[in-house]
Amino acid sequence: MKNGDLGIKTTTIEKALEWGSANSLWPLTMGLACCAIEMMATQAADLDIARFGSEIFRNSPRQSDLMIVAGTTTKRMAPRVKRVYEEMPYPKYVIAMGVCVIQGGPYVDGYSVVMGVDKVVPVDVYVPGCPPSPQALTYGIITLQKKIKHETDR
């Protein structure tokens, strides 16, 4: 953005749209296991992610643009995760929350767990931890907002 002398800001339409979508992320409740408890805590009054421009959680994929995959993705759940992801409108983003979702976590030797949800849907931000604290998830959402706005941490 450029600041003019007349109190007018000029920007591109892309930048304006990015700014808009980064600051009104509507997450989808995709709580699959224990990590979902921390996801609920992130959204509840105490830590309230709405302060960071992420609105209330929606229960329908058609009304949301961010899928927080929170919890162990089992092999039986994977086709359903994929289907819900495909039902979301563009632009859509995915946060992988917890080590289970990142690479299998404690179930890495198990028979029933997908070793990383990135095999199923494309992931934008990984939040490690077992479970990640609500602060970590908030940081993940802020990172995603920066990514949407093409800003970097460095």
Binding site: K75, R76, A78, P79, R80, R83, D109, Y111, S112, V114, K119, V120
Partner: protein, 159 residues
């Protein structure tokens, strides 16, 4: 005719207590239905069914609980041919518990009317909590547009 509390109908092999003072009763699997009928008459309910693979035999453990006295008993039976009698005639709740034990441990409950898999897809091969189950042979699950699940050994055909 058998009366409640008549212990001649079934034989208790051994009785002990674990460190939490929970009573453990070992019985023969052929006495199971009579034993449970007796304890159902005394006010016990089936809480859950679990299984242990001891390599040469299977152990099936019934956790029963009394709401009035809050007494909790573990009833253990063992089987060498994977077959045990079903308790579905006594408690409807046993139906899903027995299906779970069939699915994961491969215990066959004789007299169960609908002994299918409950947590894994129907096409899954083997019972994963058995010691003999080969974890190296990974199975993958996929779903066709009708919603039917398919299992394959090929990594590219599912997740």
């Amino acid at each position: 005719m058998k009366r409640t509390g008549d212990s001649t109908m079934y034989k208790i092999i051994s009785e002990s207590e674990d460190k939490n003072k929970i009573k453990i009763i070992n019985i023969d699997k052929n006495d199971l239905v009579e034993f449970m009928e007796d304890y159902k008459g005394k006010g016990y309910y089936l809480s859950s069914i679990t299984g242990v693979d001891m390599k040469d035999h299977l152990e099936v453990i019934y956790h029963i609980h009394n709401y009035d006295t809050h007494e909790y008993i573990e009833v253990k039976i063992s089987t060498t041919d994977d077959k045990v009698p079903s308790l579905t005639k006594l408690w409807k709740a046993a139906e899903w518990d027995e299906r779970e034990q069939y699915d994961l441990m491969g215990v066959i409950f004789e007299g169960h009317e609908n002994l299918r898999r409950i947590v894994l897809p129907d096409e899954w091969v083997g019972h994963p909590l058995r010691k003999s189950y080969d974890l190296k042979k990974v199975q993958y699950i996929s779903m066709d547009p009708e919603g039917k699940e398919h299992v394959s050994y090929n990594e590219n055909e599912g997740w």
